[in-house]
């Protein structure tokens, strides 16, 4: 009898546990967000001081006529899926931000925070089940184009044109250009706005370790300005240290704008489909410029100026770490703005004095202007805040959530800086703020101060109603951003179609292999492009046909 009772108990326990496993209420729990080593989370914060002052420009979207919206119902709860680009749970008082935002908006936000490093994968999985899909989701730029093209996102063109933000008169000078980048083809093939972001996408600039450059005989004013000069510069830097001076996270990046970490080598070449000056979509990988770019990579590796680790697809963190070492690399391309300051502090913390006796000199990294052949650095399309097609009340979500991000007041303060008393405090002057120690470092020997939440002052596209209270933590932030701002242009737009979606992964596999083969000297650039045309020509033609319809 005892045996039967035990059997029944075991069976019951199993059934109860299985029911527990299937409880849908648990599935929406916010996962702890972790360090977002590589992407937008690392986007720098810097303040140009008066960036968003008086000069403003209203958003213009000529594609869709602005209409007066009907009565909009305020949602009680909004489900939001977000990556690591806002305060991380357990790392910097995210819960305080959530609570303050709920109060400021007068509604409840249910957060879904997958791990930042696997966010793109989680997005793909989330879209497979509309019943559990969030109302609002932040999407990497290439995902944005894909999901917009297949109708998984709500077309917010009208809503944006009629929004308080767009008509506030607080938009910055660059806002129209940025808003134009938001436009992408919808399921009907017509361009529209399917997402927004309160800031510019930012971009990367080439940093040079000043102490090594000086050892190689260069000053900040004599840094190379063209490819020939850059080639010599690389060789000189190699001679100065005895190690390969340049490293990047792979020979080509899979996220737009793809070539941003090696701009001097790629120059005008673009390894993806883009719209040329005449408005026609072309495959940049088949163009003569790509042949030359690949041969430049081969030259770099052959002459030992590109660290061979590049073939192992190192992470951006690996690349950064190697730059911080005294006997590491001395040139790398990375984000402008706050990262200039981070690089400076990291160089300082990794300084041992074994090679370079002057500590102050060692912590200086010069941001290089783009060489003549590059022309301008690329400003990427930022990740996009989108409303999904499964949202039951998209107008309400747009009006009471999305449109409030750049309200120029309390809500913008929360998105830009966080919660007063938790993430920052007002200074005695009453006009500026100072960041408070982050949750992860508070009380430790190496306290790190909060500088921003989602976006930084220098990059925002909507000004505060009053003056932005930000002050730069270090002049290098402003200097770096200024250099980028003066020497950048928007990256090509991203497109998507069914046939592109079907074969883009295979195309990238082929491109990756060919680029690596050329860089290692196993074939010439022309041979690589010929092989690409032979093996991928049919697919490329089909994709171009779909894009140019």
């Amino acid at each position: 009898m005892k045996k039967k009772v035990v059997s029944l108990l075991l069976a019951s326990a199993m059934v109860v546990s299985l029911v527990g496993c299937g409880n849908p209420e648990g599935s929406g729990e916010a996962a702890p967000a972790q360090d977002a080593a590589n992407t937008e989370a690392e986007q720098p914060a810097a303040d140009a001081g008066e960036t968003a002052g008086g000069d403003t420009a209203a958003a213009e979207s000529g594609d869709t006529a602005a209409e007066t919206p009907a009565e909009v119902t305020k949602p009680e709860t909004i489900k939001v899926m977000w990556d690591g680009t806002i305060f991380k749970e357990g790392d910097n008082y995210a819960e305080d931000f959530y609570k303050a935002l709920d109060e400021a908006l007068g509604l409840h936000i249910e957060w879904i925070r997958p791990d930042h490093s696997t966010y793109a994968e989680q997005v793909g999985i989330a879209f497979t089940d509309e019943s559990t899909l969030a109302d609002v989701i932040i999407l990497p730029s290439n995902y944005y184009a894909s999901y917009a093209a297949q109708g998984s996102l709500w077309n917010m063109t009208d809503a944006w044109n009629n929004s308080e933000t767009a008509n506030s008169g607080r938009l910055t000078d660059v806002a129209p250009t940025i808003i134009d980048q938001w436009k992408t083809a919808g399921p009907d093939g017509q361009e529209g706005i399917y997402g927004m972001y309160p800031a510019r996408g930012n971009g990367t600039v080439t940093y040079v370790k000043a102490v090594v450059a000086e050892k190689a005989g260069y000053t900040e004013d004599t840094l190379p300005t063209d490819w020939a000069g850059f080639q010599q510069f690389l060789l000189d830097m190699k001679d100065a240290t005895g190690v390969a001076p340049l490293l990047a996270p792979g020979l080509v990046n899979h996220e737009a704008p793809y070539v941003n970490y090696l701009p001097e080598f790629y120059q005008g070449a673009y390894p993806e489909f883009y719209q040329n000056a005449s408005g026609e979509w072309v495959d940049g990988f088949t163009e003569p410029a790509m042949v030359e770019a690949l041969d430049r990579l081969a030259w770099g590796y052959e002459n030992g100026v590109i660290d061979s680790t590049i073939f192992e697809n190192p992470s951006t963190a690996n690349v950064r770490d190697k730059f911080y070492l005294e006997n590491g690399t001395s040139i790398f391309n990375y984000w402008a703005g706050t990262w200039a300051y981070t690089i400076k502090t990291k160089l300082a913390s990794n300084y041992t004095g074994e090679i370079y006796p002057d500590a102050d000199a060692y912590t200086t990294a010069w941001a290089m202007k783009p060489i003549k052949e590059v022309g301008t650095y690329m400003e990427r399309l930022s990740p996009m805040i989108c409303i999904t097609s499964s949202c039951q009340n998209p107008e309400g979500v747009f009006t009471y959530f999305v449109d409030k991000i750049l309200d120029g007041g309390d809500v913008q303060m929360l998105w830009q800086y966080g919660v007063e008393g938790v993430h920052y405090n007002w200074n005695d002057d009453g006009a500026t703020i100072s960041g408070l120690p982050t949750q992860a470092t508070a009380g430790s020997d190496k306290e790190s101060l909060t500088t921003k939440n989602l976006f930084e002052a220098n990059l925002k596209i909507g000004a505060f109603a009053d003056k932005d209270p930000y002050t730069a933590a270090d002049p290098v932030i402003d200097e770096s951003f200024k250099l980028f701002d003066e020497n950048s242009s928007p990256a090509p737009k991203i497109n998507s179609s069914e046939v592109y979606q079907s074969y883009s992964s295979d195309l990238w596999d082929e491109k990756d292999k060919l680029i690596a083969a050329v860089a290692k000297g196993e074939m010439s650039g022309q041979e690589a492009i010929d092989q690409y045309n032979a093996e991928c020509g049919d697919i490329v033609a089909a994709i171009l046909e779909s894009f140019n319809q």
């Binding site: 045996k3 039967k4 035990v6 059997s7 029944l8 075991l10 069976a11 326990a13 199993m14 059934v15 299985l18 793109a120 994968e121 793909g124 999985i125 879209f127 497979t128 990497p140 290439n142 995902y143 184009a145 894909s146 999901y147 297949q150 109708g151 998984s152 190690v243 390969a244 792979g250 899979h254 996220e255 660290d307 061979s308 680790t309 073939f311 192992e312 697809n313 190697k322 998507s496 046939v499 979606q501 079907s502 883009s504 992964s505 295979d506 195309l507 990238w508 596999d509 082929e510 990756d512 292999k513 680029i515 690596a516 083969a517 290692k520 093996e535 991928c536 049919d538 697919i539 089909a542």
Partner: protein, 502 residues
């Protein structure tokens, strides 16, 4: 323990209970217990007749074939360039209840065969075929048009029905012949006069204990298999799945002009999976045997235990950590310890690209696998070696056998069965290759390193809205090959060891 004695340990109780009441063979005439290998009843002397091989698995196979046929298109576009789309079958038939009915009938067929009522399964298998015919006619009426042709479903369902029905007939006939042949002789499998249901009732306690496991297996192992149907759909993230018939298999095998590239990558990944797995298996097993024998020859117990602990440890390290360590050591850059060492002692002038060259990558991969898993692999062999009677070694030593001779004539034969068992068990897992490759490969060596699971991963998560239909199709293919390997291993195991592994 004496017969009938009440056991005190619960586990012992179960064993005795089974032996006493259920598992022993009884003489049908005198009800005496018959030893397992007896040819006659020890009490009454009646001959024991061993049954012929059971044939009902053929009937089950027929039902399974028909079941699979339900996924294929009944009619489809005849143009290969369009990947035979549009396609129509049960999965996009306007009345899904017909598909459920079709599947239910075939599942019933399988269950009937399993509980030895195979003759009734003829009716359900045929009924399923009738359902298909009705649906096929309806689909032809609705979607039949010039340019459409018959799909695979018809042929597969017909084949399944024929096999299923033929299997049943063969089994029924075999049973009739068997009864005639026995002619009152003892049934080898006779365990009493109780039916299956009566025995289930007697052992209901065990069945209730088994219930949680059954529920667990159904929910977590069998229900997810329903997802395999997506292999026949376009399941793009953000869209509802839509039936496309064999489109993804056309892509996989390069049967349309646009799919040549996909097929090239798929075939390379499949080839690499087999090569990497099988060579790794041979090397790991060989090394584990060698190290086991060496460890067995050690007399200093402290040294032996220390060595064992050291070689076990890498098994518990994650592949990410292992890959990082070897990348640091073997890198061709200035930080690569091994290359720097070779260059400093003048053996090489240029660093060797261990991890980024097609000629060296596989070698490094095998080496890392040996380093990580060989220690763990020795456990079974050491257990076998510890079971060898020392008397054998002593006798051999007295006979003048040296160490090598003892190893050759005593140790190796004793290990042979275990080696084959381990080899066969691992052979069944050759398609499960992902983590170790994923953390070590890079685009420079895709042609030599890309395996099916890394290929699936890139196709699913390399950016944008992925088509999970295609990756499911690749996964399905991988599973089918894995399943065939398991069955072959089972067969090999039966041949070698006298019993299967599944």
């Amino acid at each position: 323990m004496a017969q009938g004695e009440i056991p005190t340990h619960p586990a012992a109780a179960i064993i005795v209970f089974l032996k006493d009441e259920g598992m022993r063979m009884l003489c049908k005439t005198c009800n005496a217990e018959i030893p397992k290998k007896a040819t006659r009843c020890p009490a009454c002397g009646r001959a024991v007749v061993k049954p012929q091989k059971n044939l009902y698995p053929i009937a089950v196979a027929g039902a399974v074939i028909s079941f699979v046929g339900g996924f294929f298109p009944a009619i489809q576009n005849s143009d290969a360039a369009k990947k035979f789309n549009p396609a129509y079958g049960f999965m996009n038939y306007e009345q899904p209840v017909m598909w459920y009915l079709f599947m239910a009938l075939l599942v019933v067929s399988m269950i009937l065969c399993a509980i030895k009522y195979e003759k009734f399964s003829i009716a359900t298998t045929v009924a399923a075929a009738v359902v298909y015919v009705i649906v096929y006619n309806n689909i032809c009426n609705r979607h039949g048009a010039p340019g459409m042709q018959n799909g695979l479903a018809g042929a597969v369902v017909i084949l399944g029905t024929i096999v299923g029905v033929a299997g049943c007939f063969m089994n029924v006939n075999k049973n009739a012949a068997e009864r005639k042949r026995r002619n009152g002789e003892l049934d080898y499998q006779y365990t009493g006069n109780k039916t299956v249901w009566q025995r289930i009732y007697i052992y209901r306690g065990f069945y209730i204990m088994f219930l949680p496991v059954l529920i667990f297996v159904i929910i977590f192992n069998y229900l997810p298999m329903a997802g395999l149907r997506y292999a026949f759909t376009d399941f793009i993230s953000g869209q509802e799945p839509s039936y496309v018939g064999i489109k993804h298999f056309v892509d996989m095998f390069g049967l349309s002009s646009l799919s040549k590239l996909s097929s090239k990558h798929f075939v390379a990944a499949f080839r690499n999976t087999l090569i990497l797995s099988i060579i790794k298996l041979f090397l790991n097993t060989f090394m584990a045997v060698v190290i086991s024998i060496l460890l067995n020859e050690m007399f200093n117990i402290y040294f032996k235990k220390s060595v064992q602990t050291i070689i076990y440890l890498p098994h518990f390290m994650s592949w990410v950590v292992v890959a990082s360590i070897f990348k640091m050591m073997l890198s061709a850059s200035d930080s690569g310890m091994f290359n720097q060492l070779l260059m400093s002692i003048g053996l090489i002038e240029q660093p060797i690209e261990f991890l980024t060259s097609e000629s060296t990558w596989r070698g490094v991969y095998y080496l890392v696998n040996i380093w990580k898993d060989t220690g763990w692999g020795t456990i079974l062999f050491l257990a076998t070696l510890s079971g060898i009677s020392p008397d054998l070694y002593e006798a051999a030593q007295i006979d003048g056998a040296n160490r090598f001779a003892r190893m050759r004539y005593i140790t190796m034969p004793a290990l042979a069965n275990t080696i084959i068992t381990v080899f066969i068990l691992n052979l069944a897992k050759v398609m499960n290759l992902f983590e170790s490759v994923f953390v070590m490969y890079n685009p420079s060596v895709y042609d030599k390193s890309d395996v099916l699971q890394t290929y699936i991963y890139r196709q699913s998560f390399s950016g944008g809205a992925a088509n999970y239909g295609y990756t499911t199709a690749v996964g399905l293919f991988r599973s089918v090959v894995g399943c065939i390997l398991v069955l072959l291993c089972n067969k090999a195991s039966k041949k070698v060891r006298g019993r299967g592994i599944v």
